[in-house]
C-alpha cells in the first residue's frame, strides 16, 4: 500500500540519500576509470614522445578515434558489441572500460606535452650525473613534466567525471540516472536537477581546490 502511495509522492529525505549514494557511484566509477586511464595515458604519452615514428603512425590515429567519437556512441557500441566477442560486462564494467580508454586518449596528449616540456639540456644534465635513462625519467622528467601539465590533467579528470553521466544510458545508477528515476516519480525535475548539479559541484570543487593548492605549493 505504502509503495503504491509513494510511487508518485514528492521528494523526501530518503530520496536525498538515494541521490547521495548515486553521487558516490559517480565518484567511484570516475575514480577507477580516471586512475586506470591516467596510467595508460601516461604510458601512451611516453610512447608517442619516445617512439616517434612508429607510435605516431599506429597509436596516434587509434587515440584520435577515441578522442573524437562521442563518448555516448562509444559506450553504446561497446556495451552491445562486447558480448559478441565473449566479453559479458555489466554496465559498470563497460562504463569503466570505455571511460578509462577515453581518459587514456585524452591524457596521452597531455602527458606527451609533459615529456616534451623537459628539454634536452635538462636531460643531458641528469644523464651526465650517471643516471640511467629510467632514473632520469623517474626522478627528473616525470616530476618536472607532469607538474607542468598537471592543470591540464585536472581539466581532463573533471571533464571525465562529468562525462561519466553518460554511463547512465547503460542503466548504471549513477547521479544522472538516479535523478531521472526520481524525476519520473516525483515530477519535480527542477528541484532534482538542481540537487544533482549541486552534487556534481560538491564532487568537483574539492578536487579543483586541492589541485590549486598543490600548484601553489609547487610554485615556490
Amino acid at each position: 500500500m505504502n509503495d503504491t502511495l509513494s510511487f508518485f509522492s514528492g521528494f523526501g529525505p530518503r530520496d536525498f540519500l538515494f541521490l547521495g549514494e548515486a553521487a558516490l557511484r559517480t565518484l567511484w566509477i570516475s575514480v577507477i576509470a580516471i586512475s586506470i586511464g591516467t596510467g595508460m595515458g601516461v604510458i601512451f604519452g611516453w610512447l608517442l614522445f619516445e617512439g616517434k615514428l612508429l607510435a605516431t603512425l599506429t597509436l596516434g590515429p587509434v587515440l584520435d578515434v577515441f578522442r573524437s567519437v562521442p563518448l555516448l556512441i562509444q559506450l553504446v557500441l561497446f556495451y552491445n558489441f562486447a558480448p559478441m566477442v565473449g566479453l559479458n560486462l555489466a554496465p559498470f564494467g563497460s562504463g569503466v572500460v570505455i571511460l578509462a580508454i577515453y581518459t587514456a586518449a585524452l591524457v596521452a596528449s597531455v602527458a606527451r606535452g609533459g615529456f616534451e616540456a623537459v628539454g634536452v639540456p635538462m636531460r643531458r644534465a641528469s644523464r651526465s650525473l650517471g643516471m640511467s635513462y629510467w632514473q632520469d625519467l623517474r626522478h627528473v622528467v616525470m616530476p618536472i613534466g607532469m607538474r607542468a601539465v598537471f592543470p591540464a590533467w585536472v581539466g581532463v579528470a573533471l571533464g571525465v567525471m562529468k562525462d561519466s553521466a553518460l554511463v547512465s544510458v547503460l542503466g548504471y545508477v549513477e547521479l544522472l540516472k538516479a535523478s531521472q528515476i526520481l524525476i519520473t516519480r516525483t515530477q519535480q525535475p527542477l528541484l532534482i536537477l538542481a540537487l544533482a548539479g549541486a552534487f556534481y559541484f560538491a564532487l568537483s570543487y574539492p578536487i579543483s581546490r586541492y589541485a590549486a593548492r598543490l600548484e601553489e605549493r609547487w610554485e615556490q
Binding site: 635538462m122 644534465a125 650525473l129 650517471g130 640511467s132 615556490q220
Partner: protein
Amino acid sequence: MITISGLHKYYGALHVLQGIDLSVEKGEVLSIIGSSGSGKSTLLYCINGLEPIQQGQVTVDGVDVHAKGTDINKLRQNMGMVFQQWNSFPHLTALENVALAPRIVRKKSRAEALDIAAKQLEHVGLADKLNVYPNALSGGQQQRLAIARALAMEPGYMLFDEATSALDPELVGEVLDTMRLLAEEGMTMICVTHEMSFARDVSDRVAYFHQGVMEEIGPPAQIFGDATSAHTRKFLANVR
C-alpha cells in the same frame, strides 16, 4: 687520464670534429677557447658519451667511452659536467638537487646522501641555501649548485661548458672563483671558456679550436704570448 685520438664527429653531413688528438693528464687544467660553432661543446659531449662519435677513440682511465660493452652510466659518475645553462632540478631544494644522484645512482642511504650534499654545498659557498628551491637562487648561485651537484658524485674529472656564459656579468666572478678553487684542490678539469683571464691564470694548457680542428695547444704563456697559428692570433686579438 683522458685520451682522445683521431676523433671525428658528424652531425648528419656536418663534419663538426675533424680528427682531434688530445690527452689530459690527471690533475691538469685544460682550457679550450675558440669561436662559437667550432665544436667545443661537442667535444665535451663526446668525452662523456652524451654524443656518439663516428671515428676515433676516447678513453678515460683506459676505458673506451664509445665501446659497445662500456657501462657509460658508471663512467659518467667519474666525470662531472657543468653546462652553460645550469639546469637545476626545479622540483627539488638545493640540498635535494645535490643529494639525488648520490642516492639513486650511488645507492647511498638518504642520510648519507644529504650529508654529502650539505658538504658540497658548503664547498661552493651555498651553506646558507640548503633548503631553498632553485628559482629563489640567482644564476650564479644556481651554477654553483650545479657544480656541487656534479662534485657530489666524487668525480675524478670535471668538464665545464662555458659555465659562465649565460650569467649576468656581476655573477661571473663567484662561479670562476669556485672553478679556481677546484683547480687549486687538484681537480682534473677541461674548461670550455670565453674568460681569457681564467684560461691564462688557471690552466696548465690552453687549446684553441677553429672549425672543428684543434689548431694549437700549449701553455698559456705560449698561446697568449706567442701563438703560431694566424687564426689563434686573430681570435685573441678580437676577444681582447
